[in-house]
């Protein structure tokens, strides 16, 4: 892992907060909305600097999505902030009709996604949100891996006109994306080149994929690691180019394998270049209380699980 250094653990939601603060200073059309979770979403800095461009909605997520849609009429670029569960499942029809179908330039920014929310348990640990959002026509779906990438993505989506779902998390995790790395929506990042197996990972599992690649290297297996921060539109060219070399693939996501990244990759491969695939993700289950590390281990979402899946998929070639 010489190329990727953990510069210190930071939470991705703080990357969102930093990106939003940057936008507050650079883009006067950006407005922010929150449903009583300012601290959790790290929106304090934006609010302190731009109080007139912040809307505290209260605990009323449906109203928040509708107001955000309305704010676009008049040229504003609304960023909504709440937990991933309340950003998607709770307000699916509001997003579907008032944002996606209405072609509104709303950025739905969702923290505390997945199991790593931890002790709060399954009510808050949504593992279905990528699927929900990627099914909406026209919706861009992004799941960032670390602080720097989340900050860069937050800034980048303001320049894209259209609805975006930006998914990030709660815990402090390795921050390894270079601070100056450009963020291009829909453009996968080849973190490490390899020839035996492709690992396509998103969100918190990107760092785990890099650790897995190191473990595999010690066993003489050359893994290509792709950071697929944008799940929709999917960078099919990058995936197809990689499997043309490796002839097998492992997808890794902190999400249900039903409806997630892995299925998007499988659909691409099935129609264009079928190869053996293994899926790292939760399997048709809710989460539960526990520490993030305990949960990721119990549900098989860590480097060890990725390594095992890679060895298995290579045998299927």
């Amino acid at each position: 892992m010489k190329k990727y250094i953990d510069t210190g653990k930071k939470d991705t939601r703080s990357g969102f907060g930093a990106g939003l603060a940057h936008l507050g200073r650079t883009n006067k059309n950006v407005v922010a909305l929150c449903a009583d979770l300012i601290g959790s979403l790290k929106m304090d800095e934006f609010i302190a600097e731009n109080p007139e461009r912040f809307y505290q909605i209260g605990i009323a997520e449906a109203n928040m999505i509708g107001i955000a849609a309305g704010l676009t009429i008049g040229g504003k670029i609304p960023f909504t902030g709440t937990f991933a569960n309340f950003s998607t499942g709770r307000v699916y029809d509001q997003i579907r009709q008032s944002v996606a179908y209405s072609d509104k330039n709303v950025k739905i920014c969702a923290s505390h996604a997945g199991l790593t929310l931890g002790e709060d348990g399954a009510t808050h640990q949504i593992l279905e949100d990528i699927g929900l959002m990627k099914m909406l026509p026209g919706m861009v779906v992004i799941n960032t891996c670390d602080y720097n990438q989340t900050k860069a993505a937050t800034i980048a989506i303001a320049d894209y006109h259209g609805p975006v779902y930006l998914r990030f998390g709660r815990p402090a995790v390795a921050n390894f994306t270079p601070e100056d790395a450009p963020f291009e929506i829909g453009k996968a990042i080849i973190l490490q080149e390899g020839t035996d197996v492709t690992i396509v990972a998103t969100g918190h599992l990107v760092w785990e994929a890099l650790i897995a690649a190191e473990q595999l290297a010690e066993k003489g297996i050359s893994a290509e690691v792709i950071n697929i921060h944008t799940i929709k539109p999917l960078d099919e060219a990058a995936i197809l180019a990689s499997v043309a070399k490796t002839s097998c693939i492992v997808t890794a996501e902190e999400h249900n394998i039903l409806g997630g990244l892995g299925e998007s990759v499988a659909r691409t491969l099935a129609s264009k270049h079928p190869v053996p695939q293994e899926f790292i993700g939760t399997n048709d289950t809710f989460g539960e209380s526990g520490t993030p590390a305990q949960l990721m281990e119990k549900y098989g979402l860590n480097a060890a699980a990725i390594t095992t899946a890679c060895e298995k998929v290579i045998k299927r070639k």
Partner: protein, 281 residues
Amino acid sequence: MANITELNQLTTQVRRDILRMVHKVNSGHPGGSLGCAEFFVALYNEVMELKEGFDMDGKEEDLFFLSNGHISPVFYSVLARRGYFPVAELSTFRLINSRLQGHPTTHEGLPGIRMASGSLGQGMSVAIGAAQAKKLNNDSHLVYSLHGDGELQEGQNWEAIMYASAKKVDNLIATIDLNGQQIDGSTDHVLYMGDIAAKFKAFDWEVLSIEKGNDMSAIIEGLKKAKSISGQGKPVCVLMHTVMGNGVDFMMHTHAWHGKAPNDEQLANGLAQNPETLGDY
């Protein structure tokens, strides 16, 4: 001062449009559309300050959002006859490849539409957002919205109603179409909502009533009064008492024509009650 006779003539033509549109495709929602014909005609031809042409941002003009999107026939007719798109296009209502979808949408680029509606209860939040954008833009124009009475059973409305007064969204005039009917029967029968005026007042809104919601003069007077008390710290609610199916006797005072088209004979009957004034499309 409005020429009430001309506005009434336009309303009669709008009723003809509604009947002919839903009859042609044997689907759509004539009852609520007919009940709100006077409101739409007044709003778009006498009450709102509108720019020429259409752009999505709608800066420096009043905006309108239809929350109960199923009454699209009246919306489309009035928009077309106000010049937003060709009147002839009304003949494409609900047909394949039409911009006049069953429920209004921005998706097909129909001028005059700024938000999809159809799934109920979402329009007030959207109107609030647009109103707050106007405040940010130092645009003193108003945002109008229309909601069905049955639609108030959707909980999102009450999130929005609570928010609008708390945040002093006083450039919003939300009209409730009190026709007392919904799909399964009267609103009192399906889910009694009590005193709606008292509810809005309890949420700290200004509340006005238009008792004769199918009387052109009464609507204009009511909406202008609403306008006069906007901008004073509170959102304004207009409770507009209408008759579902107004202007077509066999469709009036019943929920039966909420979402049912007239047959050939019924169409002829309805049209005979509303003689052509400005020319059919």
